[in-house]
């Protein structure tokens, strides 16, 4: 099975679960009073369509044959980098929601950590990362609150 087929299988299973949840949630919606259709049939019909088509995709991915061609080492996916960025981003958003720190220092910390990780904590890159992070953290806070008059998450 190719990587795309594996992803297609996983995604179609997820879609089937979503559709089942939609069908479950809409089962008790009463029929329309002043109009013939009501609120439930459209989401139910759409969910049924997605469910049926997802089953087709899932089955064809399950049955598919073939392997991916070998990839160049330089083009190998950087899954660890993506996972680390995702974890840091979720932690950053959670920290902003919990108001642990103000937007500017929190953003500076987040950017420094993420850029540092992506550049493998090389000293030269870390110096640049510190400057970029601080400029971005405090610069964005200033520009968005003073110039665009937009509220920022955090304190």
């Amino acid at each position: 099975m190719t990587k795309t087929a594996r992803w297609a299988l996983g995604v179609s299973v997820f879609f089937v679960l979503v559709c089942l949840a939609v069908l479950w949630e809409t089962r008790d919606i009463p029929p329309g009073t002043f109009e013939p259709l009501g609120s439930a049939p459209v989401p139910q019909g759409t969910a049924l369509l997605v469910l049926a088509l997802s089953v087709v995709i899932g089955l064809s991915a399950w049955r598919s044959r073939g392997e991916d061609p070998p990839i160049d080492p330089s083009e190998r996916p950087h899954v660890v980098d993506a996972a680390a960025t995702a974890i840091l981003t979720v932690a950053y958003v959670a920290a902003l929601q919990a108001r642990l720190l103000d937007f500017a220092p929190m953003t500076t910390l987040y950017l420094f950590a993420t850029i540092g990780f992506l550049t493998r904590f090389r000293l030269r890159a870390l110096i640049v990362a510190a400057i970029v992070s601080a400029a971005m953290g405090w610069g964005a806070a200033f520009i968005f609150t003073r110039f665009f008059v937009v509220d920022l998450p955090g304190l």
Binding site: G32, F34, L37, V42, T85, V93, D151
Partner: protein, 507 residues
């Protein structure tokens, strides 16, 4: 028409609106030139900044970005063989070989000139077609609208690269995602799981930014190690001679018209337009063997067509409120954020906005041409900005933009979730365009169906008895059946070949 157009052009020539065109177009070029970033991402991220702007100025800025981003991708497609945006994929076939052959300036010059002409041709069509089409569309009843949107959804799924079934799932899933919240027709909460934050539904912006920007950032981080091959940009040979113009005139015009036509078809983006124009140019060329090895005609066809889709795609948006491409779906979102309802009455209710859109498509095209000719070397350097620095910064912008919509962290979580969903869908080969278009069009589609059924006391008969709705329905069914017909025909050809081979063996 003349009054509206010249009024908008005069407005565009005043300092602030002109600055918006300039900022929009140049930032579009820069973002388009950076591999991994796209116009859709830029426009989705800019939407929150337009909340406090006049709707006309917001539209000017966003259309400038649209024009710039489609053209900016030409630079990376030519110099790096990495299309800056999906619409520039075909440009890599000939642009990069020509650049490798020591003529990067020539390849860029041809691409820029073709982009300019493509934009100009489609603008003329936009100018003359949008208003008559909108007048015609005012005659649509709810069933016509319902079947038109249905046809658009099937069309989007059928022409999207890859599997049609995946395109359909993507579109229907987008529709499903737009349904949580209090049903506007009945006041009945649905798909809220008794969670009050879902009463207002999932907002367009977090979903858009998640699907387009966050998923792309994730994808870019996964491929962050990919090496870029540098080619020095030389400006020599960028200006086209009279002979070049003469030789390429027909190719430019044909490709521009193909691009415009593809743009008009709902939901089909610039990439399909450039593929179709490239194929047509190769089939009609006297030197088809040069295609893929640095053909001038190939570059011209691809770039003229992808820029022509911009004007074409604006036509259904302005005339009917149906997005002609993914970016147009985001533009519809921008109009709705500014309390403007897209549709055939837009010319009457918000004529200033419509004419600003049309005029900006022209002015941004001119600005794009001048900016690209003047600063291509500078922009070519920007594309080497290390992605390790750029991508986390983009994530911060995504969070700021989404939070600014309603000052709620719930939207930020929605954006992150849809970023992951979008990335998974892309890895699995599901196109994201139909998802966004389904998300934008579903409320309109449901509203039209339900109001139609109220008018007919629950009967769907008018769908089959009204000529237009029946036509749209038949087209939708034919489009749905096309892949099955293709499979049947291929199977028959295989069987015939096998029979012929067996007969030859026996003989």
């Amino acid at each position: 028409m003349i009054e509206g157009l010249f009024g908008a052009l005069a407005h565009l020539m005043t300092p602030l609106p002109f600055l918006y065109v300039l900022i929009g177009t140049v930032s579009g070029i820069i973002v388009g030139a950076i591999p991994g970033l796209s116009g859709a991402m830029l426009i989705a991220l800019t939407l929150p900044l337009t909340f406090y702007m006049q709707p006309v100025n917001a539209v000017i800025l966003l259309i400038g970005m649209y024009v710039g981003s489609i053209t900016g991708g030409l630079i990376t497609a030519t110099l790096l063989r990495m299309p800056g945006t999906p619409s520039n994929v075909v440009t890599t076939f000939d642009g990069h070989p020509m650049a490798m052959a020591g003529k990067p300036g020539r390849a860029l010059g041809l691409g820029i000139a073709a982009s300019f002409i493509g934009g100009l041709v489609s603008w003329v069509v936009l100018l003359f077609l949008a208003k008559p089409l909108s007048i015609w569309a005012t005659r649509f009843g709810p069933f016509e609208y319902f079947t038109l949107i249905l046809m658009a959804m099937v069309l989007i799924a059928s022409v999207t690269q890859g599997s049609m079934v995946k395109g359909l799932v993507s579109g229907f899933l987008g529709m499903l995602v737009s349904m949580p919240g209090v049903d506007p027709s009945s006041g009945q909460p649905r798909l809220t799981w008794d969670w009050y934050v879902l009463n207002g539904g999932l907002k367009l912006l977090p979903v858009l930014i998640g699907i387009f920007a966050v998923s792309q950032v994730i994808g870019d981080i996964v491929t962050i190690g990919k090496r870029m091959e540098r080619i020095e940009t030389r400006v020599s040979g960028m200006l086209m001679s009279f002979k070049d113009w003469r030789d390429q005139a027909f190719n430019m015009l044909r490709s521009s018209l193909i691009g415009t036509w593809v743009g008009i078809l709902p939901g089909i983006g610039a990439s399909i337009g450039s593929i179709m124009a490239y194929t047509a140019a190769r089939n009609m060329s006297r030197k088809p063997e040069e295609y893929g090895k640095g053909s001038e005609e190939g570059i011209v066809a691809s770039e003229a067509a992808n820029n022509a889709t911009i004007g074409g795609a604006l036509i259904p948006l302005i005339a009917m409120g149906i997005p002609g491409s993914v970016i147009d779906a985001i533009l519809i979102g921008a109009l709705m954020i500014h309390s403007i309802t897209p549709g055939p009455t837009l010319f009457i209710t918000n004529g200033d906005v419509v004419w600003a859109m049309i005029a900006t498509a022209l002015v941004a095209n001119v600005v794009m041409f001048l900016a690209m000719m003047g600063s291509v070397r500078l922009v070519a350097r920007i594309m080497y900005v290390p992605r390790t620095f750029l991508l986390p910064v983009i994530l911060v912008f995504c969070i700021i933009g989404t939070f600014a919509l309603d000052n709620t962290m719930f939207d930020v979580w929605v954006m992150l979730i849809f970023g992951v969903v979008g990335y998974a869908m892309e890895r699995a080969g599901f196109p994201l365009g139909p998802f966004v278009i389904g998300f934008v069009l579903a409320p309109l589609m449901e509203e039209k169906l339900r109001s139609g059924l109220m008018m007919t006391a629950g009967s769907i008969e008018p769908i089959f008895t009204r000529p237009l709705s029946l036509t749209f329905l038949i087209i939708a069914i034919l489009l749905l059946l096309t892949p099955f017909f293709r499979v049947w025909r291929e199977g028959r050809a295989r069987r015939r070949a096998a029979t012929a081979a067996a007969a030859a063996d026996e003989a």
